[in-house]
C-alpha cells in the first residue's frame, strides 16, 4: 500500500469514526436544543396567555393544543416543566413527537395549569438529515483527499518515486557513481544521503571483492604456470621411470589445483552476479552443439543418446554461463554413465531435462549439489555446484529425481508450478 493511500485510509477511518461520534452527539444535542427552543417559545406563549387571563378575567378559547385547567393550590412553588411525548396521528397512522409544556400560574387568586403542545421534528427525520449530511461530508472529504493525493503524487512524491526507481535499478556492476535526485524535502534528502553513503561503501566493497577474486586467481595461476612450465621442461630430459612418473603426477596435481581454483573463482563470480550481460539463449541449440562436440566420446563409450522432446527452450542468460550449465550437466550424464548406457534429453519451452543410466540406486538429492561432493575420485566435485549456483542466480529450479535413470530437470520460472516463486521474486 502506498504511503499516501495508507495515510489517507487511516485519516478516512478516523474521519468516519469522528463523524459518527459527532453525529450521535449531534443527535442528542440537537434534540435538546429543539426542546429548549420549544420551551422558550412555549414559556413566552404561556406568559402571554397568563396576561390575557389576568386582563380579561376569563379563560380564552384556544386551539386543542392549548389547555388551561383550574387546579388545586400546589404545595410548594409554582412549577413549570417540559417533556417530549408521542401523540398518535390518525391520519398518517403513526405517532408524532410533541413537546408538552406545563406551567402552573396564579391568576386572581385561582391556580391554573397551562398545558401547551408543540410539534417537534421526528427523530427518523433528524437521523436521516444528520446521516445525509455525514454521507455528503464523507464523499466530499474523500474526493478532496483523492485530488490532493493526486496532486501530491505529482509534486512531492514524484522525485521520491524517481529516486526509488533509481535505487531499484541500480546495479553494482555499473561503474558510474550512484546519484539520487535532490527532492527539496528534508526527510527525503536525509534518506538519500544515507542511501548514498551506504551504497558507496557497498560499491567499494563490491569492487574490491571483485578485484580480489580476480587478482587472487591471477596470483595463483602465474606461479602454477611457472611450476608447470618447469616440470614440462624437466619431462623433456631423459628420466628414469620413477622420476618420470613423479613429474607427471606433480603436473597433474598442479593442473587439478589450477582447475579447482578456476572453478571456485567461477562460482564466486556467479554468486557475485558478475555475469550481467544476458542474452536470449536457446538451450536446445547449446545442447545439440555440445552433443556434436562430445559425439566421439559418447560413441566410444557406446552411450546411446535419445531425444524425448526437442523443442526450443529460451533462457535469458549470459552465453558463457549457459554454455557451462549445459556442459556440466551433459558431461555429468556422460561421466557417471554405465558402459553401453543411455542419455535421454528433453527440451520444452519451460523445461530442460537430462536423464542418464548409472548407479542402480538414487543419489542423495540434498547433497549432490554441494561443493566438493564427488561422484568419482578424479572430479573436483564442483560441476553440479556450479549448475546449482547458475540456476539459483537465474531463478531456475533444478530438481534431481531417480526412477530407473538419474534425471536432472531445470524448470524455467514461467512454468506454472513455479509461478509463486517467481511472483515472490518480482515483489522484491
Amino acid at each position: 500500500m502506498k504511503f499516501l493511500t495508507k495515510i489517507n485510509r487511516n485519516f478516512f477511518f478516523l474521519f468516519t469514526f469522528m463523524l459518527l461520534i459527532i453525529s450521535v452527539a449531534g443527535y442528542f444535542i440537537l434534540n435538546a436544543m429543539f426542546l429548549e427552543e420549544a420551551r422558550e417559545g412555549l414559556a413566552r406563549q404561556s406568559a402571554m396567555i397568563q396576561d390575557e387571563i389576568q386582563k380579561t378575567g376569563e379563560l380564552p378559547q384556544y386551539d386543542p393544543l392549548t389547555q388551561i385547567t383550574l387546579i388545586a393550590p400546589p404545595k410548594g412553588k409554582l412549577q413549570s416543566s417540559i417533556h417530549k411525548i408521542n401523540l398518535p396521528n390518525k391520519k398518517e397512522d403513526e405517532v408524532e413527537p410533541y413537546a408538552e409544556y406545563n406551567r402552573q400560574v396564579l391568576i386572581r387568586g385561582n391556580y391554573y395549569n397551562i398545558r401547551l403542545l408543540q410539534k417537534m421534528i421526528e427523530s427518523d427525520d433528524l437521523v436521516a438529515s444528520i446521516g445525509g449530511a455525514l454521507f455528503l461530508l464523507l464523499v466530499l472529504s474523500f474526493m478532496v483527499s483523492y485530488f490532493v493525493n493526486k496532486r501530491m503524487n505529482q509534486t512531492i512524491w514524484k522525485k521520491f518515486e524517481e529516486n526509488l526507481h533509481l535505487i531499484e535499478h541500480y546495479n553494482f556492476q555499473t561503474k558510474e557513481p550512484f546519484a539520487l535526485r535532490q527532492t527539496g524535502i528534508d526527510e527525503f534528502d536525509r534518506l538519500n544521503a544515507i542511501v548514498f553513503k551506504m551504497t558507496q561503501k557497498l560499491h567499494d566493497d563490491y569492487q574490491s571483492l571483485k578485484e580480489f577474486t580476480e587478482n587472487a586467481s591471477h596470483e595463483l595461476q602465474t606461479p602454477l604456470s611457472i611450476a608447470l612450465f618447469n616440470l614440462e621442461e624437466l619431462l623433456q630430459q631423459p628420466l628414469s621411470e620413477e622420476t618420470f612418473k613423479k613429474v607427471v603426477t606433480s603436473m597433474n596435481a598442479l593442473k587439478r589445483l589450477s582447475n579447482l581454483n578456476q572453478n571456485l573463482l567461477l562460482l564466486a563470480k556467479i554468486e557475485n552476479r558478475q555475469f550481467t550481460q544476458k542474452e536470449k539463449i536457446n538451450a536446445r541449440e547449446i545442447l545439440e552443439h555440445k552433443l556434436a562436440e562430445l559425439k566421439p566420446l559418447l560413441d566410444f563409450k557406446k552411450i546411446d543418446v535419445q531425444w524425448e522432446h526437442r523443442n526450443d527452450c529460451f533462457i535469458n542468460m549470459h552465453p558463457f554461463l549457459a554454455d557451462i550449465l549445459i556442459n556440466n550437466l551433459l558431461t555429468n550424464a556422460m561421466n557417471h554413465n554405465t558402459p553401453k548406457g543411455m542419455i535421454s534429453l528433453s527440451t520444452t519451452t519451460d523445461t530442460i531435462q537430462l536423464c542418464n543410466t548409472g548407479l542402480p540406486e538414487p543419489l542423495n538429492a540434498t547433497k549432490i549439489f554441494n561443493r566438493f561432493e564427488k561422484g568419482n575420485p578424479h572430479s573436483h566435485g564442483l560441476g553440479l555446484a556450479i549448475v546449482k549456483q547458475i540456476c539459483d542466480t537465474h531463478h531456475l529450479t533444478i530438481e534431481y529425481t531417480f526412477s530407473d535413470k538419474h534425471c536432472f530437470s531445470i524448470i524455467l520460472p514461467e512454468h506454472p508450478t513455479n509461478k509463486t516463486a517467481n511472483q515472490t521474486f518480482s515483489n522484491h
Binding site: 595461476q221 562436440e293 566420446l297
Partner: protein, 184 residues
Amino acid sequence: MYEYDIILLDITLGDGNGLDLLKIIKKHNVQAGIIILSAKNSLDDKINGLDLGADDYMTKPFQLTELNSRIKALLRRRKFDGSHIVAFNEIALDTDSKTVIVNQQRITLTRKEYDLLLYFMVNKNRVLTKEAIAEHLWDDNIDLADNFDFIYTHMNNLRKKIKRCGGKDYIKTLYGMGYQFTDQ
C-alpha cells in the same frame, strides 16, 4: 625496427594492462600475429582481446606444447607461402584441406585423429602427457577424468592407419603416462 611474426602478450604487465598495449600495437599497424596470455579466465577479457585484434587467447596455466601448437597454427594462418603443409618424414599434413598423406597415399582420419596427429607433428620430439593431449583435444571445460581410454583408442587407430600405408610408428609410449612423436 624489427619485424616480428608473433607477439605473445601478457595481459597483466608490471606497468599496465596488456590490452592497452594491444591497442597501441594495432594503432601502429603492426602485422605480427598476437596471442594473449592471461591468468584471468574472464570472458570479457577474452572477447575484448579478440575484438581488439588479437589472434588467439590462452588462459594460464597452459602447457608449452599447447602454446607451441597455437604459435605454429597462427604462423600457418599468417603465411600464404605453402607453409600450410606440416611434414615429418613420410607423413605430410595439409592444414588447409585437412588431409594427410603418408607415402603419397591419402589416409582418412577422424577429426580427433587428425587433431592428434597435428599436435604430435607440431610438437615432435617433445614428451607429451596424456593429460596434455586430452586437454588439447577437448575443451578445458570437459571433465575428462576417466576418459583417457578414449585417447588410447584413438592413438591406436592412428597408428594402424599410418602403418597401413607403410608409415613408421613414430608414437613412442613413455611409461604408460606420456607420449613422444619421434624418429630417434
